[in-house]
């Protein structure tokens, strides 16, 4: 595990970046999250060398769980092992959540609007986008490790901003805290639904993170393809296939095959 003295952030003068990220908050989050990372979920990861040490890049994983514990463990893994602060792109209802919105902002989470994401990539940040959105965590347990509706925004951003995509498979989170059912009528704070989990707390299932080789869509597609729906669909399908292949390999490795 890499020892980290300081986290590089685009300080706007008072220790914060424009989205509210603060290095001290990152340090605190790593300190408090480490017991969960090491002892509870016993996270193991492979292929971290595929994550570039500098410059803009987009991590694209599968998504699951009642709460985004997969995203939190991925964040901890990247921060601790690369020294870069991963910037998760959150759903647009997140800024409405009291306390959560502030904690998320201080640790690097950014609301998923076009302007916000463009700025992150322009300044060379490492971001993570879950193309399944809320449909990933909302899926029933029987559909675990089956990718849901796969949006194309990540492919558009990769082509437009010439950033590599690193496919990631998160194995274990889909069994750790599955959703029993959803209360669809619940929309407090703009939430799409209220998840009712199968257990009170997440189960201590070991998490395995598999980072795949970078997909350099910007070498296959010209910038103009970022506006071409067919090209975007093809590029997003390529990313989806890469994530699915990593999931298949990760599940086989977990079974010991």
């Amino acid at each position: 595990m890499r020892a980290i003295a300081s986290y590089p952030i685009h300080d706007e003068g008072h220790g914060y970046d424009v989205f509210g990220l603060h290095a001290d908050a990152v340090r605190r989050a790593v300190r408090w999250g480490r017991p969960l990372y090491r002892r509870y979920f016993r996270v193991e990861s492979s292929g971290i060398e595929h994550v570039p040490s500098s410059g803009a890049a987009i991590l694209v994983p599968n998504h699951s769980g009642t709460l985004p514990i997969d995203g939190a463990m991925l964040w901890l893994d990247v921060v601790q092992r690369t020294g870069r602060v991963l910037r998760p792109i959150a759903d647009r209802f997140v800024p409405r959540l009291p306390f959560v919105s502030t904690v998320f902002a201080r640790t690097g989470v950014v609301s998923g609007t076009h302007t916000n994401v463009r700025r992150l990539l322009e300044v060379g940040e490492l971001i993570v986008i879950f193309p399944e959105g809320v449909s990933g965590p909302a899926k029933p347990f029987r559909e675990r490790y089956q990718l849901q509706k796969w949006r194309v925004g990540h492919a558009e951003l990769a082509i437009r901003h010439r950033a590599p995509i690193i496919p990631v498979a998160i194995i274990g989170a889909e069994e750790s805290w599955p959703v029993l059912f959803r209360i669809r009528a619940f929309h407090a704070f703009g939430a799409p639904y209220l998840p009712v989990p199968a257990s009170l707390v997440p189960l201590p299932v070991q998490l395995h993170l598999h980072y795949g080789p970078p997909l350099e869509l910007h070498r296959q597609y010209p910038v103009e393809a970022a506006d071409d729906p067919d090209a975007l669909a093809a590029a997003a399908a390529e990313v989806r296939a890469a994530v699915e292949a990593l999931i298949t390999r990760g599940l086989a490795a977990r079974r010991g095959a």
């Binding site: 706007e12 003068g13 209802f93 800024p95 302007t115 703009g190």
Partner: protein, 329 residues
């Protein structure tokens, strides 16, 4: 360049006129305000006192001293500062003058450029909108918005609609909030009491502009021939809680629904300008201006922070304005 500046006796107007006079490319400044006399000593400044809401007065000014001096650029920053006032006279001040200036621009023999000083308050702040506001961010078009906001949006949009007029070069500078007294700053007024209430569970990022950067940015826009809208951010981007601390105030987080009645009570008892309904969304979701376009086209980058930086840069260094002094109440 010969520049006409409206609202010249406000703290921002005075700083702008003084900054313009210090520039070698400015030959003369015609400073306009309602006060009978202006605080300008330079021989390169002509002060004229007039009420611009009267169409005849404005016309006579532009075709009289304006034409004689050969004014070629107008920087219009005369907006009503109080957020509590409303009515047709306030609207005439906020929107009417802009309309008159735009109409005059097409007929005037010497004026070729108009710069409208707009503000970040024209942007709609929502949980679904970006934290970083570029010039294409949605504007606050809610008919239920207070007149203070509606007037500013109307003046801004009216100016934008005339940008393509032949023979004129129009620019809109959407400035971040300038934290200074008598500048219409809501945040300045918010920080005037010892205890500052803020919504529990939220600590949004806010960008503030210093008086020096405000003057410098408007001068850069005036000097350029660029047409369009330019966001003018300041050098201080920090959370609301940090602003309260730096101002030497005690920040008290309270549940959001309590804040509006409490601040209304404060207005009734103390009579301050701060309106929580104007700032409700900003105090929850924040909003920082993206100055990329101003940087690329005008070469503007904020230089003068309001507060000293944590890295030890002292206030007042490099000619910076001193940290604002807040009155004790």
């Amino acid at each position: 360049m010969k520049v006409l500046v409206t609202g010249a006796t406000t703290p921002l107007g005075v700083a702008l006129v003084e900054h313009l006079v210090a520039q070698p490319w400015v030959e003369h400044v015609l400073a306009i305000a309602r006060e009978p006399a202006g605080p300008f000593a330079s021989s390169r400044v002509t002060y004229a006192s007039c009420d611009l809401t009267r169409a005849r007065t404005l016309h006579d000014l532009l075709w009289g001293p304006g034409r004689r001096l050969g004014i070629d650029t107008v920087i219009h920053g005369a907006l009503h500062r109080s957020a509590r006032d409303r009515g047709t006279r306030i609207r005439a001040e906020n929107v009417g003058i802009t309309r008159q200036l735009l109409a005059a621009l097409e007929r005037h023999p010497t004026i070729r450029r108009l710069v409208l000083r707009s503000g970040a308050e024209v942007y709609a702040l929502r949980d679904t909108e970006p934290n970083l506001l570029d010039e294409d961010a949605p504007l606050e078009l809610d008919p239920a918005a207070p007149q203070w906001v509606r007037d500013r949006v109307e003046a801004d949009l009216t100016t934008c609609a005339r940008m393509c007029s032949a023979g004129t070069a129009i620019a809109v500078a959407r400035c971040a909030e300038v934290l200074a007294p008598a500048s219409g700053s809501q945040l300045w007024d918010y920080l005037q009491t010892r205890v500052c209430l803020r919504p529990l569970g939220f600590d949004p990022m806010i960008n503030l502009l210093s008086v020096a950067d405000h003057a410098r940015a408007l001068a850069l826009v005036a000097r350029s021939s660029a047409v369009g809208v330019f966001n003018i951010p300041g050098a201080d981007t920090l959370p609301l809680s940090r602003i309260v601390t730096l101002a030497g105030r005690l920040g008290v987080p309270l549940p959001g629904p309590l804040l509006h009645p409490l601040y209304q009570l404060r207005t009734w008892t103390i009579g301050l300008e701060f309106r929580y309904d104007l700032n409700l969304r900003r105090f929850h979701f924040g909003g920082v201006l993206d100055g990329t376009r101003a940087q690329q086209v005008l070469g503007y980058r904020p230089r003068h922070p309001i507060w000293p930086r944590p890295n030890g840069e002292p206030p007042g260094a490099r000619g910076l304005p001193r940290a604002p002094a807040f009155a004790r109440r």
